[in-house]
């Protein structure tokens, strides 16, 4: 803090801290806290049941009235009239039960995860891990060639050839993928195409700092290509591998685009669609918030596990580039 004041002076220090405070509170902490609070409030399910019943009974009543107006025989009219009275009575009672919704606190919103949505979450995470593994195998040689083997103009050209498809964004990449490949529900190949490049760039960035003399020295001393990779290149690429694996996994697990675009509505949901349906279609906002947080928790857990597996420290993320 004293260091800050010494370097920037009082006014600039205050301004910088104000910007940082607004950022942390307004864009990070407060939104997340609101989401957590919302996920813990639920509306009395009885009133939701009543709302659905009111909707259903109103529809049936309207249909019965239409039948009544178009009935041809008097006996049929009497029969339908009895039905209308019955429906109207039930509608009155359902209306009474549909009181103003009372929010209650608790974890009720999270409990439905044990059913089908939980299965979708697990499938989405498994798929994301599979894509990460495939991208690691495919992407490592590409990053190695781009960073170490190729030099000068060819390396720059290759980098450009990787950046352009990445820069157009996942929607347009998957649009391109879908013009050629049309297998319904084939999520994994589309995801490798959609997000695999996220693996290449961090490994490339880590390998650009590799001293090529190490490789030449190892080769002169008789090391095989495999041994050069396992003893020199892979250890040097480790932070890049970790960042790449984490980024690829996060993009796949949170992907809304792949289940939305590639199966053309014929394939299964991703977990993102499950959340969107609760929020946009059924207005189950508490449940949607709970699902979103469950996805976040799962992603952070896997990201932490990957960091441990690659022995990456938190500070390395910023030091080596993300």
């Amino acid at each position: 803090m004293a260091e800050l004041l010494r370097a920037y002076g009082l006014r600039l220090t205050a301004l910088l801290w104000l910007a940082v405070a607004l950022w942390i509170i307004g864009l990070v902490i407060a939104p997340l806290a609101t989401l957590v609070a919302r996920s813990l409030t639920s509306v009395d399910p009885q009133s939701i049941v009543a709302t659905i019943e009111v909707d259903r009974l109103s529809g049936e009543l309207a249909a019965a009235r239409w039948d009544f107006d178009h009935a041809t025989t008097p006996e049929r009219r009497v029969e339908i009239d009895r039905r209308i009275r019955l429906l109207a009575d039930r509608l009155r009672r359902a209306d009474a039960r549909e009181t103003a919704p009372q929010p209650t606190w608790g974890i009720a919103n999270y409990t439905s995860l044990s059913g089908l949505p939980g299965g979708v979450l697990l499938r989405t995470l498994g798929q994301a891990l599979a894509v990460t593994a495939i991208a690691l195998l495919v992407g490592y040689p590409v990053a190695w060639l781009a960073a170490v083997v190729l030099t000068g103009r060819r390396a720059a050209l290759l980098l450009g050839a990787l950046i352009v498809p990445w820069a157009i964004g996942d929607v347009l990449r998957l649009c391109a993928w879908a013009t050629l490949f049309d297998p319904p529900g084939a999520g994994i190949p589309a995801m490798v195409y959609g997000y695999g490049l996220a693996m290449v760039f961090p490994i490339w960035a880590a390998l650009t700092t590799l001293d090529r003399h190490q490789i030449e020295a190892a080769r002169d001393l008789g090391a095989s290509a495999l041994r050069i990779h396992t003893r020199i290149v892979l250890p040097h690429a480790r932070p890049g591998l970790a960042v790449g694996a984490i980024m690829t996994f996060l993009l796949c697990a949170g992907s809304y685009a792949v289940p939305q675009i590639t199966p053309r509505g014929r394939g299964g949901d991703g977990f993102g669609q499950q959340v969107a349906r609760r929020i946009f279609d059924t207005a189950d906002w508490g449940v949607g918030a709970a699902y979103a947080l469950a996805l976040m928790a799962a992603c952070l857990l896997v990201a932490y596990a990957l960091m441990r597996a690659f022995r990456l420290r938190w500070r390395d993320l910023a030091r080596r580039g993300g």
Binding site: L12, A161, G169, A176, G254, I261, G265
Partner: protein, 269 residues
């Protein structure tokens, strides 16, 4: 590494690279072919000749054009917000003790590690409420929380290469803080800022997941394209892809031509 021309390792690496690039570019070629196809059905076969029909359809598509305008607006706002925020964050982190800066960094960078749908939902919820309409402002703020984190990382990496001796020398020679800032620190950070502008712009322009969950009933180019593609292949969206791709190729070409290697970092440890 100089190698003999008939080197099998070289042959294998060339083969692998070619296969990878074919895999990467074949769908993009297919998209381009479909976008220029003269047939009115979305298909590259049978090929009926080149026609700009889908591009004129695109130019006359009010929803896509509106989406494009909103995308540009949102991207400009995200750049304008995330650059100062990222710079301020990096300047604070640079002068903070290791432990405090670690905590602060974790907080500021965390949106990168949070799924886009959570970022979009939480930002919209906090600024508008769920029942609120969502819209462009929640979208700008949601994207900014992620984009500013990337910009922060870029500035932090650059500052790690900063030689403090320069600043000390300037102070010793009697320069004021403002002068040191203007003549030493900001010029040092300028290349990073120049790189951060297009990156932040693209991160915003191409974003889909965060936007879908923050924007509510409004649209950007990407959410409109996603909604159309849900219904099936769409040559108009292919045309959008070709336009964006062409701009990307031009931008990348310029970048490759003007790129200069970074100065070596001062030795640590």
């Amino acid at each position: 590494m100089a190698r003999k021309p008939r080197d099998p390792a070289r042959f294998l690496s060339n083969l692998y690279m070619s296969l990878f690039l074919i895999w990467l570019f074949i769908p993009l070629v297919g998209m381009t072919v479909t976008a220029f196809d003269a047939s009115t059905l979305p298909s590259a076969t049978p090929w009926k000749g080149v026609s700009p029909q889908w591009f004129s359809t695109l130019a006359g598509d009010a929803r896509l054009m509106r989406g494009l305008a909103q995308s540009l607006l949102v991207a400009l706002a995200v750049v304008a917000l995330s650059l100062p925020l990222g710079l301020a964050g990096a300047m604070v982190l640079h002068r903070l003790a290791a432990r405090a800066s670690g905590v602060l960094l974790a907080l500021l960078v965390s949106p990168i590690l949070i799924p886009g749908l959570v970022v979009g939902l939480s930002t919209r919820l906090f600024w508008h409420g769920f029942a609120g309409p969502g819209g462009l402002w929640p979208t700008v703020l949601a994207q900014t929380s992620t984009v500013a984190a990337y910009v922060l990382v870029m500035f932090t990496l650059r500052l790690a290469r900063f030689d403090p001796a320069l600043e000390e020398a300037a102070f010793d020679l009697g320069a004021s803080r403002a002068l040191v800032m203007r003549r030493i620190l900001l010029p040092f950070l300028a290349p990073t800022a120049a790189a951060a502008v297009p990156i932040a712009f693209l991160l915003s322009f191409a974003d889909y997941t965060t936007t879908v969950f923050a924007i509510g009933g409004d649209t950007t180019l990407m959410t409109e394209a996603g909604a159309r593609l849900r219904a099936g292949p769409s040559p108009v969206i292919d045309a959008v892809g070709v336009v964006v791709l062409a701009l990307g190729v031009i931008a990348a070409g310029v970048w490759v031509l003007v790129r200069r290697p970074e100065p070596a970092p001062p030795r640590r440890r």
